[in-house]
Subunit: 208 residues, 2 copies
DNA sequence: CCATAAGTTGACCAAACGGTCAACTAATTG
DNA sequence: CAATTAGTTGACCGTTTGGTCAACTTATGG
């Protein structure tokens, strides 16, 4: 009954596009509406507040954008360390493609929003926390599997998980700041060093 | 001639306190004035805009807060790798002290602001970029010195500098997100692994 | 001691903000 | 073909935003 519309989906996408680029606080309801081609009245027909939209948008981004990439790379059918390699190269590829189309390198949406902490709506912030935790678990499982398979040599697996994850998020954040995929180059080799894993043929770093 | 005042200094400090906590966009001129105990009219007597204040405040933060810590830790009188260890433990100590006084763990001010990119005034953003670059150079020099002294074993020094710096900023950012110094624990040992340096007695990770 | 320059104040402004609402339009279904 | 229900619209509201200004106060130096 009633008519149908994809305005809700357009709002979710617009919210993510803008939040990813500008951050939570700098994005206005009017800007989201403009980008989505939706009038403000309609906005509040679908969402009771900007915070509610953001919560839904981040969850949607996780389900439709972030998780599929993770699931593909971190499939248990892949060897543990290969999963990391696949994930890194997938992300690197995404950023390179974005640049080719003239778009900006934006790093990790969840991480950027989470950095806002006290200036982000508490419920929105909690949502990003959940998303980041789920993401971190992919890293944890892969590294634990690698440890069980005797592929790595570390004194403390949990500490290594933290370090690999910090290195990863740090590189993604720097890619955003520099607007360049360059900090992601060689990430896998550096991760192998962190994990005390056998090194492949060492490649020279490529600086654009 | 005329009277004297420390209102300018109070404004600089208030701007940093609030920006560090809330980020550039979430901080308002009114809030800065409240925090500094200065009326808005006076604000614009000292600074021509919010962006001008922020630029001056970040530069001030670098000179008075960030740089002294770096200069102490990265003194060339210290062995190269020891410099990193000193810096990490100094930062860890700062965060622990903050927590004891009931304040929040806020990570690196420059990095947080730099993450804002498109939502931050261009000149302010450029200022943070300069600050971060100067900071990165401390890492670079220490690691190059370590390489020259044969203390580390890496195929590509520049790539290692990038990795160590990414790991560091990633850990700082995660400390902010988690409001805990925990991600900074063991950072030095992980850095040694990245650099292929001789490991000291491996400590167990301490999770609060 | 008094002119002058530096510093202070609160009222004010236009624009932008998140959010509301009553009226309107158009598909769907019994 | 209604009646129902989902979706749309633009005018509107109170608040907050960054910024302005003319009048006022006070320390200092000649």
């Amino acid at each position: 009954m009633g008519r149908v519309s994809d305005a809700r989906e357009r709002l979710l996408e617009a919210a993510n596009t803008l939040t990813w680029k500008l951050g939570y606080n700098a994005v206005t309801v009017d800007a989201i509406c403009d980008q989505a081609g939706v009038k403000k009245g309609s906005f509040y027909h679908y969402f009771e507040s900007k915070a509610a939209l953001s919560k839904a948008a981040i969850e949607d981004w996780w389900q439709t954008k972030s998780r599929p990439v993770l699931d593909r790379a971190f499939s248990v059918t892949n060897p543990p360390l290969e999963r990391l390699k696949l994930y890194y190269s997938a992300l690197h590829e995404i950023q390179v493609q974005r640049q080719k189309v003239g778009e900006q390198v934006l790093g990790c949406l969840g991480f950027s929003v989470a950095m806002g902490r006290d200036s982000v709506d508490p419920e929105v912030w909690e949502t990003t926390q959940h998303v980041l935790q789920r993401k971190r678990r992919y890293f944890e499982t892969a590294i634990r599997d690698a440890a069980d398979a005797g592929l790595i040599d570390v004194p403390d697996v949990e500490a290594s998980v933290q370090a690999v994850y910090s290195l990863f998020e740090g590189a993604m954040a720097r890619a955003r700041i520099q607007n360049s995929p360059e900090p992601l180059v060689g990430l896998y080799e550096q991760t192998l060093r962190l994990l005390g894993a056998a090194q492949p043929a060492a490649p020279k770093s490529q600086v654009a």
